[in-house]
């Protein structure tokens, strides 16, 4: 196979050769400068990151607008159609001027309505991804760097790849004939490559034969992946652009174009049924969350050393709350975000809830916070509202819990690994899709994902997991029900602003609307009840959500059996005893049941309470320091009556037993002094005979012989001393070298320059370097070397990728590689 002569190392991009690029940048800045205030305002509105922070002048704004970061962010917000039109603009650039025109794009877009295409072009122009007059538009350079090297999934032109392929493509009729003559296997390969991406690897023997045929016919061109070691799997082949466009005859050269979003069809549900099922689910979610935290309060769970809640603990909590682990993990994450759950020292001092989850110190435990008690006092709708808002703003992806991370270790609930900064936005995107549909429409999950992929393909890629997570979470919380958005959740999402206005997801905070959500939900939920139904099998049925006071009473006097819309409790002898233990009397219990019950109190219950009350306290327990017993009741009475023994605080608990709060040794001594003859007993009742021991202080280590510590810092010698000297010298050289660099670089390197002390922003340095790569301009680069010294160099950047800047130093004619994170400043050389 042959190597590719024209492919420049490092990237595949075929950026047409440009005119003087420096003037290009000026043009861009000049175009911005010539905009009206409104137009400039519109640009800032569409790309708010351009003014964070506010650039010093229009030139700086221009640099930023062309920087990779900002362009990528802008592209992320664009829909599939607009991106395809941008691809079309890239494809239609003239080889000489690197410019394109509206007409060229329209021609390429072919069958699609011209108006739709124009609208898309306008969208690109107001964002300054395309700029210049309609008949000579330029694509911002960074677009090529941050998007696929194969616009619209088409390969590079044949004449760029291989002269023989170019010859074939030049002869249209022959090309068509050759393609039509392709055997079935080869045709399948062609169709796959034509759909994009146009690159395939020669791997398996099964496809090798058709591919060989295609290569021999020069329909496919072998390429080596430049800049990388030869692929162990084999060679790569590329489908030239002309062939790709020929194969796409039917769909058009850009492939299938969808100017309008693929609206989910979905089945229609009765919005009332949706609300009802959702309301039921909200009760369920609130109850489950409460049960989880309740279980955690009963037995706290330790914080893992790596942060998070252990698998076994999660399983325990899930079982206690009657949930599966997925639901339990979601609710635990939500309650944590809502501040209902927090870490505390096992010893008792609580830590602030807002501290990151990472790295639990030893002996920390998860416990419900004080906010939990306040939350419990709220109505169900308000409690749900708290959870739902926490969920919307939660930068966590609970579906990751239980999955494995890249090191194949399981991800725990509340662990840092489940943190996903994009989660709130993904959630909002997914729900907004539902919100845009008519009430009661229940689209399939895949339809929602498809629409999201259309709305912002670049953002949706890799976010399917987050979107699915959002939809399943929504169902569990009752935000959606029967697959459709509920009316109250719609209010929760409602916001007058345009969605695209908020790329940073700042808007996740609530407005005044949620109050309506609570109000509507409240109307859907059952009203609390304050009575119960008592039955002969000693079950207590609360036919609805119990009032807090009733719930508190039942918690003590009965065992819960089943919960949900209503709750079922059972009175057992143990539960009655518990009630008696906390201070209820039998009469209290009788009157409580009579007052609360709508049905007659069963005789069995009355009998059981009386029976339990009769037996309650039949045994008495207490603590004492020592006891005194004798079979001789008269002797016991005599001891008790002896006034000299009053300090012992003796108390008679049975005719033959006295107890004292004092230790047994004091008791013995005093009794002997009083003329009695007591004998001590051990725990088994055997007599203990002892003789007095001589007292000694505890043994301790000797104080003598510890050498006095030397004062002052250690004296340096040998290699360490040489190292320090060398460091000093190197610093000196660096300082001298840097003195010639521009002030910004020197300032960034920490040398004081009057009036300029701040370090240049990293992003700004990157933007300068990116522009310099495009312009092939020389820049001063300030950086920190591997010894920690600061240096600056005048270099010509070659490429900027994978965290490294490669640049050539013209004076020494060497190629330097700088780690980007070490670069402190970059300034274009003005000479």
């Amino acid at each position: 196979m042959f190597s590719e002569p024209d492919a420049s190392p490092g990237h595949f991009n075929i950026v047409p050769r440009r005119l003087a690029l420096n003037t290009m940048a000026t043009t861009f800045a000049d175009q911005l400068r010539s905009l009206t205030d409104e137009a400039l305002g519109a640009l800032v509105q569409l790309r708010p990151d351009l003014v964070v922070p506010v650039p010093a002048d229009i030139s700086a704004l221009a640099v930023r607008a062309q920087s990779r970061g900002s362009v990528a962010r802008c592209l992320d917000g664009l829909d599939e159609f607009t991106l395809r039109i941008l691809d079309a603009a890239r494809l239609t650039r003239s080889a000489d001027t690197a410019l394109t025109s509206v007409d060229a794009i329209l021609e390429l877009a072919g069958g699609t309505s011209a108006d739709d295409v124009r609208v898309a072009i306008d969208r690109l122009r107001v964002r300054f991804l395309l700029h210049g007059p309609p008949e000579a538009m330029a694509v911002v350079g960074a677009v090529d760097e941050v998007t696929s090297p194969y616009p619209a999934g088409l390969g590079r032109p044949a004449d760029f790849l291989d002269p023989r392929a170019a010859a074939l493509c030049a002869d249209k009729a022959k090309l068509r004939r050759t393609v039509l003559a392709a055997p079935a296997g080869a045709r399948a390969v062609l169709d796959r490559l034509a759909a994009g991406p146009p690159i395939g690897a020669l791997t398996r023997d099964t496809v090798a034969e058709p591919v060989r045929w295609l290569v021999e016919q020069h329909i496919l061109v072998p390429i080596s992946e430049a800049g990388r070691a030869p692929n162990a799997d084999g060679e790569l082949v590329e489908l030239p652009r002309e062939v790709g466009m020929l194969l796409r005859r039917e769909a058009g050269p850009l492939g299938e174009l969808r100017p309008f979003p693929p609206l989910p069809e979905g089945s229609a549900r009765d919005p009332k049924a949706v609300d009802s099922a959702g309301a039921g689910q909200t009760m369920e979610a609130v109850r489950s969350a409460e049960a989880l935290l309740e279980a955690l309060a009963t037995e706290a769970a330790p914080v893992l050393r790596a942060g998070g809640l252990g698998v076994r603990e999660l399983r325990r909590l899930a079982r206690a709350a009657g949930l599966d682990e997925v639901a339990a993990a979601l609710l635990i994450e939500i309650t944590y975000t809502a501040g209902l759950l927090g870490e505390t020292d096992a010893t008792g001092t609580s830590r602030s809830v807002t501290v990151s989850r990472a790295g639990g110190a030893a002996d920390e435990i998860f416990l419900p916070t004080g906010a939990f008690d306040l939350w419990r006092a709220l109505s169900i709708a308000q409690r749900w509202h708290t959870l739902a808002r926490a969920w919307l703003s939660m930068s966590r992806q609970p579906s990751l819990v239980g999955a494995r991370d890249e090191r194949d270790r399981p991800i725990n609930a509340l662990a840092p690994e489940a943190e996903r900064a994009g989660a709130p936005q993904a959630r909002r995107e997914a729900l907004l899709v539902l919100a845009d549909l008519e009430a009661g429409t229940a689209p399939a999950v895949d339809e929602v994902l498809e629409l999201l992929a259309w709305q912002a393909p670049r953002r949706a890629r890799g976010r399917e997991g987050a979107h699915r997570d959002a939809l399943s979470g929504a169902a569990l919380l009752g935000v959606t029900a029967l697959g459709a958005l509920t009316s109250y959740a719609r209010l929760l999402l409602e916001d007058p602003d345009d969605d695209e206005n908020d790329p940073l997801g700042v808007r996740a905070t609530a407005s005044a609307a949620p109050h309506d959500a609570v109000r509507i939900l409240d109307a859907l939920l059952p009203a609390p009840v304050e009575h119960v139904l008592l039955q002969a099998d000693l079950s207590v049925v609360v036919p609805g959500p119990p009032e807090p006071e009733l719930a508190g009473e039942l918690d003590v006097i009965a065992e819960p059996e089943s919960a949900g819309g209503a709750s079922v409790f059972r009175v057992t002898p143990a539960s009655v005893r518990r009630a008696l233990d906390v201070g209820y009397t039998a009469a209290d219990l009788h009157s409580l049941f009579r007052r609360r019950s709508r049905t007659p109190v069963p005789q069995t219950l009355t009998y059981m309470i009386d029976d339990a009350a009769r037996r309650h306290g039949g045994l008495r327990a207490g603590s004492a320091g020592s006891y005194l017993r004798s079979d001789d009741e008269a002797l016991v009475a005599e001891v008790l009556a002896d006034k000299r023994l009053a300090p012992l605080g003796l108390r008679q608990i049975a005719p033959t037993v006295l107890v004292s709060p004092l230790p047994v040794a004091r008791l013995l001594t005093q009794l002997r002094d009083g003329g009695f003859a007591p004998v001590a007993e051990d725990a088994g009742g055997a007599a203990v005979l002892s003789r007095p021991k001589v007292r000694r202080a505890p043994t301790r280590t000797t104080l003598a012989g510890r050498p006095a510590e030397q004062a002052g810092p250690p004296v340096l010698a040998g290699p360490r001393l040489a190292g320090v000297v060398e460091q000093l010298r190197r610093g000196d050289i660096a300082t001298r070298a840097a003195r010639r660099a521009p002030v910004t670089v020197r300032a960034a390197n920490g040398q004081s320059v009057t009036g300029l002390t701040s370090v240049q922003r990293h992003g700004e340095a990157m933007a300068v370097l990116q522009q310099a790569v495009r312009d092939k301009a020389r820049v001063w680069v300030g950086y920190v070397d591997s010894h920690g010294a600061t240096l600056s160099r005048l270099v010509r950047p070659v490429s900027l990728s994978a965290g490294y800047l490669r640049a050539e130093d013209e004076r020494t004619e060497t190629l330097h590689t700088f780690a980007l994170h070490r670069i402190t400043a970059a300034v274009t050389d003005e000479e």
Partner: protein, 553 residues
């Protein structure tokens, strides 16, 4: 918000408020798919189980209709997750079918190939499946039909059994409805059973389960094998069949320890079927002795484990289980469901009582305070012996006597679990005893005397737990039992539930020793009946003994 009678709980129980005007309609709507678990006086509890939902699917109800009735009658919003779960569970039924293939016999057919692949891989089905015919069909050996269904149920992919039943050897049987007719609930029970093909009918003691069996036989019109608990019960079946059907004495055979007759209708005892000689079951041939068209299991809650195994081989025959309490103390209700069949009919006891088909009963627990000496004895007894010490306390004797004396005109049964106690009681009350060692002949004599009224009081051992028909008994006094067995309690109450000629009330007394384990067991025993709506009253022994205090010598 609707104001329905039903409350749906998150643990899949359904609470039905019985006093609600829509309660009846609601019960009709949910009965096909939800199982009645408890029916106390105010709120009945039903439960949604996968089995119940699948049975509903088998009976032609789809998930939509189930969800609709839940939503329609529910007072509060039903959680979305529960509705989704119901739909998903029901969707699992029928993905696999057991069908008779004309060429290959019994086959398992997968309407969903992936499910078939999944279950075929399962280790639990190892050895049950034969050759794979194509993507969606696997041969099944006919003898594995029952076990396969059981295993598939456990895997959560219940097979729809379309292989049908063999008709068996035809035999003309019809009901002889001279002067009586089948009660409505009995007819419903038979219809429910016949529509389902196989299954269990649950009716309270005394509600005429034998007639349900007879009616089922009359519908099948085929040779029938009836399995009963003991010989006496077998003879009662025979008497009843001769009286209520066209069958004659010659057509009914008895297969017991005493006689080995095989006739078109054969009544066999569990005991003889499970007896072994040299480690082998010697009487199993009975199942293959004739081409039975119907197998009836009486008192299915007592079905011994070996019979389960034989039953697995009988899946092609219609099977009817009869019981009053589908509570098995060994927890094998699931096996009854999968081998004999699901519950086809169930009626709350109190409903049948309200219709007058069983006598209303008053349940009273009498608490006896032990004497100081007895308390001391109890306190120092080993844990295993404690129940006996408490249950057989002598203090109970005068109380039992007082209770017997309280009902001078009634037929009284005294039932206990400890033989020495019963003998003491027999002497004290001057009443004969029927125990395990009593010969069948002697038993028949005593029961006849009791039925005739010449014998007023009878002391029964555990034999009283089984179906013996003593219609005149109106008072039962139990003094001890098999620990906390709920099913025993129900059976004992059943002894007095036969409707009385003048519609008078039955009385069921339990004498327990206060503050002992006896009380705890009593509470556990009562659970089933309390859940059926029987309200127990607890009284002190002193109230029973009353003013004319009997003297203890």
């Amino acid at each position: 918000m609707s104001d329905g009678p039903l409350i749906v709980q998150s643990d899949k129980t359904l609470l039905l408020e019985v006093d609600h005007p829509d309660a009846k309609a609601c019960r009709m709507a949910i009965a096909p798919f939800a199982e009645l678990e408890r029916s106390p006086e105010h709120v009945h509890t039903y439960r949604l189980t996968p089995l119940g939902l699948w049975n509903a699917r088998a009976a032609g109800h789809d998930a939509e209709s189930v969800v609709d009735s839940l939503i329609k009658f529910s007072r509060y919003p039903v959680p979305n997750a529960l509705l989704v779960d119901v739909a998903e569970t029901m969707d699992r039924y029928g993905r696999l079918q057991l069908v008779n293939d004309p060429a290959n016999g019994l086959v398992l057919r997968g309407l969903d190939k992936i499910v078939l692949v999944e279950v075929a891989k399962s280790k639990k089905l190892a050895g049950m499946l034969g050759a794979r015919l194509d993507d969606e069909t696997i041969v099944v050996h006919p003898s594995e039909r029952g076990r396969l269904k059981q295993a598939l149920l456990k895997l959560g992919w219940p097979a729809e059994d379309l292989a049908g039943y063999v008709d068996g050897e035809a035999h003309e049987i019809s009901l002889a409805e001279n002067g009586w007719t089948l009660r409505s609930y009995q007819q419903e029970a038979v219809d429910g059973f016949w529509a389902g093909g196989s299954g269990v009918v649950v009716l309270p003691c005394g509600a005429g389960k034998t007639l349900v069996g007879a009616a089922a036989m009359a519908t099948a019109k085929a040779t029938t094998l009836i399995l009963v608990t003991n010989t006496v019960a077998g003879r009662q079946w025979k008497r009843e069949l001769i009286a209520r059907t066209s069958l004659t004495e010659e057509e009914i055979g008895e297969y017991s320890g005493e006689r080995k007759e095989i006739r078109p209708v054969t009544i066999a005892t569990y005991q003889v079927l499970t007896s072994r000689r040299g480690g082998a079951f010697t009487h199993l041939d009975l199942f293959g002795a004739r081409d039975w068209g119907l197998v009836v299991y009486d008192e299915v809650h007592l079905l011994p484990a070996p019979i389960f195994r034989f039953t697995a081989d009988l899946q092609a025959r219609r099977r009817l289980g009869l019981t009053a309490t589908l509570v098995r103390e060994d927890g094998r209700e699931g096996d009854v469901f999968s081998l004999i069949g699901p519950k086809r009919y169930d009626a709350p006891w109190k409903d049948i009582e309200a219709q007058g088909w069983i006598a209303p009963a008053e349940c009273v627990e009498v608490r006896v305070t032990l004497t100081e000496a007895e308390r001391m004895t109890y306190a120092v007894t080993d844990a295993e012996e404690r129940y006996k010490a408490a249950a057989t306390a002598r203090t109970k004797l005068p109380v039992v006597k007082a209770l017997v004396d309280k009902h001078p005109d009634e037929q009284v049964l005294v039932i206990g679990g400890f033989l020495d106690q019963l003998h003491t009681l027999g002497e004290y009350l001057d009443a004969p005893i029927v125990e395990g060692s009593t010969t069948n002949k002697e038993r028949e004599r005593l029961f006849d005397a009791f039925r005739a009224g010449s014998l007023k009081t009878l002391v029964l051992s555990k034999v009283g737990n089984f179906s013996i028909d003593l219609p005149e008994a109106a008072v039962a006094i139990q003094v001890s039992g098999t620990f906390g067995s709920r099913q025993e309690e129900a059976q004992r109450l059943g002894r007095v539930l036969r409707p009385k000629a003048d519609g008078r009330q039955a009385h069921f007394y339990t004498v327990v020793s206060r503050d002992t384990i006896d009380t705890e067991y009593a509470a556990h025993r009562q659970r089933f009946l309390a859940e059926q709506g029987y309200a127990y009253t607890i009284v002190d022994a002193d109230d029973v003994l009353g003013p004319p205090l009997p003297q203890i010598d």
